[in-house]
């Protein structure tokens, strides 16, 4: 069956917009994806008919809102195949989820211990660990990558020591598109008793994610990169960890009993959800995941792989193009530079032609340094992009290169 991209496009109101008088070609999906009408309506319906604070009132609306909020949690758990919805904590996004873990495991980390990350991490999965290591006088170790953008697995194996407290790795690189062999990494780390946190920000919308199968200890993602709303995210954590780690923030919702002298904390997941949560965000996320599910993540993967292959082939026809990130296993992201042309200039001209791409360092400055570039141009695809849009982009790129050389 052909991928129903025309139908899908009609689900996304923003795509029919013109930008600079040209039809919008939105190739900045790794930064954030657009939202289908179903998600927009779900959020709007919540505020029109269900809005109430959750877990607090015994009145009708509060009951409805609480039920729907908890159903969303169950849905997320099912979507990523978590053992229990107790393992799903709603956060503000990937960054928030990672900071939650970095703060709560702080006490595990003693002077001269180490935490391992990789050379392709987003600043969100780098700075929290770096700062934790500085605070605890521990060492941050960085697994190198090869020039195609594959992790050096042998180097990783050698880095793990008895003092390694955590390994944090991205599922898919936002710059290179590399899909990392998470299952293998977890296997190796667990042999040494080291827990693994996976940054799934770029994965959820593009490949199937099964935390049970991956066996990772923590998995994080943002709703807005998977067709859901901004400001909503998830931390999945194995309950063995969540039960024993301390709370992250203190306040309402996360408590059982409070006196002026002491507080007993609520059970997981509530222990980690202080304050009023983003209920509409959770419902929007549920709807977005349901949207993905209906189309089928494997169909999406196959379609996006075709788009990527097509774009990769077309772009190599342009003189002086160097693709940054050629891993064997990659998806949905095409980063490149063109000899003698500044990415910022290209991005500016592409924008004039209605093509939205990202230029710059993509929150991964050390990675840019490794590839010896000051930045790249990144096109990143979503399920609503088409070959025809790739053609528009390639034409625009040729025009821009012409103007600049």
């Amino acid at each position: 069956m052909a991928f129903p991209v025309t139908q899908i496009r009609s689900d996304f109101p923003i795509l029919s917009q013109k930008v600079n008088n040209k039809p919008l070609v939105y190739f900045d999906n790794a930064a954030t994806t657009q939202k289908p009408l179903a998600v927009i309506n779900r959020i709007s319906d919540y505020y029109k008919t269900e809005n109430s604070n959750v877990h607090r009132g015994n009145h009708y609306l509060s009951q409805i809102a609480s039920d729907h909020f908890e159903n969303a949690r169950k849905y997320v758990a099912g979507f990523i195949n978590a053992t229990s919805e107790k393992e799903i904590i709603f956060t503000k996004g990937t960054t928030d989820s990672i900071n939650l873990v970095a703060s709560t495991i702080a006490e595990w980390v003693k002077p001269n211990d180490n935490i391992i990350i990789t050379a392709m991490e987003h600043h969100s999965n780098l700075v929290p660990w770096q700062q934790l290591c500085i605070k605890q006088k521990a060492n941050l170790k960085v697994v190198p990558i090869d020039y195609d953008g594959n992790l050096d697995m042998d180097a990783m194996k050698k880095m793990i020591t008895p003092s390694t407290k955590l390994l944090a790795v991205t599922h898919i690189s936002n710059v290179l598109g590399t899909i990392n062999p998470i299952k293998e990494i977890v296997n190796i780390a667990h042999k040494h008793g080291v827990p693994v946190l996976v940054d799934g920000a770029q994965a959820l919308a593009h490949i199937s994610v099964d935390v049970n199968n991956l066996d990772c200890d923590f998995y994080t993602f943002s709703a807005h990169k998977a067709y859901g709303p901004m400001g909503m995210g998830v931390l999945y954590g194995k309950s063995v960890w969540l039960e024993q780690l301390p709370p992250y923030q203190y306040g309402g919702e996360m408590i059982k009993n409070v006196t002026f002298e002491k507080t007993t904390f609520n059970n997981i997941p509530y222990k980690y959800e202080a304050g009023t949560p983003d209920v509409a965000g959770a419902l929007g996320l549920e709807t977005a995941l349901n949207y993905i599910k209906k189309i089928g993540i494997n169909n999406i993967r196959e379609y996006e792989d075709q788009l990527l292959a097509y774009a990769t082939e077309k772009i190599t026809e342009i003189d002086g193009v160097r693709i940054v990130g050629k891993a064997k296993d990659k998806t949905a992201v095409l980063s490149f530079v063109i000899n003698g042309i500044h990415p910022y200039d290209l991005g500016t001209l592409l924008d004039q032609m209605g093509v939205a791409v990202r230029t710059g360092t993509h929150c991964a400055q050390p990675l840019m340094e490794y590839f010896g570039v000051s930045g790249t141009i990144r096109t990143s695809f979503g399920l609503y992009n088409t070959q025809q849009e790739v053609d528009v982009f390639i034409d625009a790129l040729k025009k821009a290169v012409n103007m600049l050389s």
């Binding site: 600079n20 500044h342 990415p343 910022y344 200039d345 500016t348 001209l349 004039q352 230029t359 710059g360 360092t361 000051s374 930045g375 025009k399 103007m403 600049l404």
Partner: protein, 141 residues
């Protein structure tokens, strides 16, 4: 010419372009002209950091007027810099402090001055004004 007159001449010059390609081709042409800054000033001291495109700015006083020179590694940024310098350089500190940049709005380049663009232009203008202010304080003393 005053700053206003110079800005007006830029606006007139851009009025002939009726599509974006001509306008940007012209900017690129301006940007490709010889370095606007002495190579020896293209170093860390004069670099305006934290930007997607890098910008170098040098300023010096000549008979109560400020002479700006600048450069960028991105050619469109450099084209816009050359317009800014053409309008501002050679004026007195007081005039530079008072200058506004609505001429960029009129020629449809205002978006390049958005702080979120991170191309260094906003920081560059801030730096130009700071320099003018410092010079004014010095001469008032």
């Amino acid at each position: 010419m005053t700053i206003q007159e110079k800005a007006k001449s830029v606006i007139d010059e851009f009025a002939i372009f009726d599509d974006w390609m001509d306008k940007y081709s012209y900017l690129i042409e301006l940007g490709k002209e010889l370095p606007l800054i002495d190579e020896k000033h293209k170093n860390q001291t004069y670099l305006i950091s934290g930007c997607q495109s890098r910008v170098w700015l040098h300023a010096e006083e000549n008979n109560g007027k400020i002479i700006f020179t600048a450069d960028s590694d991105a050619v469109i940024t450099k084209g816009i810099i050359s317009l800014l310098i053409r309008v501002l350089s050679g004026s007195s500190p007081a005039k530079i402090i008072a200058a506004d940049f609505s001429f960029l709005d009129e020629i449809g380049l205002k978006a390049h001055l958005s702080p979120t663009r991170a191309n260094g232009l906003v920081s560059m203008i801030k730096q130009m004004k700071l320099y003018a202010r410092a010079l004014q304080l010095k001469s008032n003393r």
